[in-house]
């Protein structure tokens, strides 16, 4: 047996071991653990979550399209992970602060990102696309797992301030192998920091299956650090919201960190530069297509007679409008002038860099005189 072919990497058995509220066929299943956290969720709220996921999928498709058309340098698709991101993101309070990885388009959306915020970094215009203080979300993080420590430090600050806030960090299954993620869990547990770890296990770290990262369910690691965890069906938006509410309540009430593993699937490539056909099968993809998070919620709403055509039409119109605005924002971006590369390396004057800047300015000036 190859070391990759373990029960952990076996996607079929995987999902049966997760907490869920809405089954893949759309039927509601009782979940005594999670149900209390979503008692207030009515059909309108479910329709709102549905709208969020549809709009997010459209944002994601537009990102891919813009990259294919040469308008973005790169895009990291989150297609398939809508429930994990919207469900957890919509459970947050405005005052909470998120430290994301680079694939958290849906979390950005749930925090109120504007159309241009999705493209500014991937087009290569800015190092960070938005003001973290405005959205309550740190810049996207490309170094795998580095942001988890930042969340713990921020949570220490919350604790120090006596504030009623939670720091939240998102990372993938690949990141769980990083030292930083493990150190973050050690620090969080030691200080009982108000931080929630959200691991989106999308089964693939580029070409490496989750079984290469772990021979044990990822959520199962957390208790070893002294952190309670839940392994939730990441394609069940209601379960993700409920689990996140549990985790946030746990952290907010002074009980220390909590950990979620949202078991989901990356339907697209790692990024637009990746070709997943080289490492995974059509059969696996098809299996997960049948667990699509949007189709699941639609089935649930339709069975209840709560998915009117007007809703679907309005959602589609909103998604198309978002894509249009995103494209317009992307094409409207203006590249900063040459001398801007020197801006804000430091907060205070640095004589060495000032000298370099002056030299480059003088060099550029020779072209103007010519």
């Amino acid at each position: 047996m190859s070391p990759h072919n373990t029960p952990i990497a076996d996607t079929e058995s995987d999902l049966e071991l997760t907490e869920r509220i809405i089954a893949p066929d759309g039927t509601r299943v009782p979940n005594p653990q999670l149900d209390p956290f979503v008692k207030d969720v009515d059909f309108q709220t479910l329709r709102d979550l549905h709208r969020d996921m549809v709009v997010l999928r459209r944002i994601d498709a537009e990102g891919v399209a813009l990259q294919r058309q040469g308008q973005l340098g790169l895009w990291a698709p989150c297609n398939g992970q809508e429930a994990a991101q919207i469900g957890t993101g919509r459970a947050l309070q405005r005052r909470d602060f998120v430290f994301p990885s680079y694939r958290e388009t849906g979390v950005m959306y749930s925090r109120g990102a504007q159309p241009g915020d999705y493209v500014r970094m991937w087009r290569g215009e800015e190092g960070a696309a938005y003001d973290p203080a405005d959205l309550g979300i740190a810049p996207l993080q490309i170094i795998i797992g580095a942001q988890t420590l930042h969340a713990v430090g921020y949570a220490l600050g919350i604790q120090h301030d006596g504030a009623d806030e939670v720091a939240v960090t998102y990372f993938g299954d690949g990141a769980t192998s990083q030292g930083d993620v493990n150190e973050a869990m050690v620090f969080a547990a030691s200080y009982r920091a108000p931080v929630v770890f959200v691991c989106q296990n999308n089964h693939w770290a580029i070409s490496e299956p989750v079984g290469l990262q772990s021979q044990f369910p990822l959520a199962g690691r957390a208790p070893g650090f002294g952190i309670p965890s839940l392994r939730v069906d990441g394609n069940d938006v209601l379960a993700c919201m409920a689990a996140m509410r549990w985790a946030l309540e746990h952290a907010r009430s002074g009980k220390g960190p909590a950990y979620l593993e949202a078991v989901t699937y990356r339907m697209g490539p790692h990024t637009t530069a990746d070709d997943p056909k080289r490492y995974r099968s059509d059969a696996e993809l098809e299996q997960w297509r049948r667990r699509d998070p949007i189709a699941r919620l639609e089935a649930h709403l339709r069975a209840a007679g709560e998915l009117p055509a007007e809703h679907l039409d309005a959602v589609q119109a909103q998604a198309d409008e978002m894509a249009r605005e995103m494209r317009a924002a992307c094409l409207g971006l203006v590249t900063r002038p040459a001398m801007a590369v020197f801006d804000r390396v430091y907060a205070e004057p640095h004589s060495g860099l000032e000298r370099e800047r002056d030299e480059y300015a003088a060099y550029l000036a020779t072209f103007e005189e010519a």
Binding site: G127, A146, T148, L156, G157, G179, E348, H350, L353
Partner: protein, 339 residues
């Protein structure tokens, strides 16, 4: 004025910075109850409490990454890396996060983090306890790098580093922790010279000897010995390695025309190489001879009994002085300086 050791001056500097700004928090291994393995944080836990003097788990990346998160929330973390050789696990957080976040966010996120590093050799320590990693950080845009050599500067520069809105790597020469000097504890920071300035610690006319950290003491000893031979050396303590104060450096070189740069760190692509390259660009026409580096060898830091063969000492510095003064030296008779 109070006479105190460099270590006590750093302790006083931390205490003062914590009193001046309650957003200043300390993080590190053994810095609380123990007061740090070098006692630089001695008494601060009792005075400021465990929320501000935080003993951390033994993970350097974790310490620095946590400091980043605290800075996101408006704190001014001061990190102690227990020994120079333990900073490498934190290298990614320092280079990829601490140094870049201000630039990435175009100033929306500031990283006023001070990373204190008990630093360099000469104390007969175990492996990984005598490293001179400063060049890695000088090479990293977004960081400032300070290396102190006397108690007054230690007290002042540490407070300035903590008050600075940029991240600062703050190198403390372990060998000089017990070196004593006069410290004015009440001098207002506002009247102090800026953190990035070099200092002429001994005036001279025949050659300029540039160094930093514990080597400043060695250089001053060398200058005293040279005086006995009728040679007048000007000694400059760089104090700041990023940025380097080239106004002070070139003003001296323009007068002496001859340059030796000394440091404990190994030679290849080191600070001395950068300083000499810059001097050559800025005031080549004033140079009377080729500048010379006196550095640690390009070897892993050797076992303690052998470190005296690695660290530049008074005689190696004077030999380099002889070279730049075109006097008989170790390379006399060689052609093209060893090539």
């Amino acid at each position: 004025m109070t006479t105190m050791t460099l270590g006590k001056a750093l302790n006083a500097g931390l205490r003062r910075a914590m009193k001046d700004d309650d957003r200043v928090v300390l993080l590190g291994e053994d810095i609380g109850t123990l007061g740090g393995v070098f006692r630089i944080t001695d008494g601060l836990l009792d005075e400021f409490g465990a929320k501000r003097v935080i003993d951390t788990p033994l993970a350097e990346s974790g310490i620095v990454g946590t400091a980043v998160g605290l800075a996101f929330r408006g704190y001014r973390p001061v990190v102690e890396i227990q020994f120079d050789g333990f900073i490498y696990p934190a290298f990614d957080q320092i280079v990829s996060q601490v140094a870049k976040l201000h630039y990435r966010t175009q100033g929306k996120v500031r990283m006023p983090i001070t990373i204190r590093v008990p630093w360099a050799g000469g104390i007969g320590a175990a492996e990984h306890h005598s490293e001179s990693p400063e060049a890695y950080f000088v090479h990293t845009a977004g960081l400032r790098v300070i290396a102190v050599s006397d108690p007054q500067d230690a007290y002042r520069c540490l407070r300035q580093a903590i008050a600075c809105d940029d991240p600062v790597l703050f190198f403390e020469p372990k060998r000089l922790y017990h070196h004593k000097g006069e410290v004015d504890l009440d001098a207002p920071l506002a009247d102090a010279p800026p953190m990035g300035l070099a200092k002429v610690v001994r005036a001279g006319t025949d050659a300029t000897l540039i160094t930093y950290g514990a080597m400043v003491r060695t250089a001053l000893d060398a200058a005293a010995a040279a005086e006995d031979e009728g040679i007048s050396l000007e000694v400059i303590d760089l104090r700041s390695l990023s940025p380097v104060d080239y106004e002070t450096v070139t003003a001296s070189v323009r007068r002496t025309g001859r340059v030796v740069v000394a440091h404990e760190a190994s030679r290849e692509a080191g600070v001395a190489a950068e300083v000499i390259a810059s001097i050559t660009e800025f005031c080549f026409e004033y140079l009377e001879s080729a500048p010379v580096r006196v550095t640690g060898h390009d070897i892993p830091y050797p076992p303690a009994k052998l470190e005296k063969f690695h660290l530049p000492d008074l005689d190696r510095i004077l030999d380099a002085v002889d070279r730049v003064l075109d006097r008989p030296s170790s390379i006399s008779g060689m052609k093209g300086a060893n090539l």
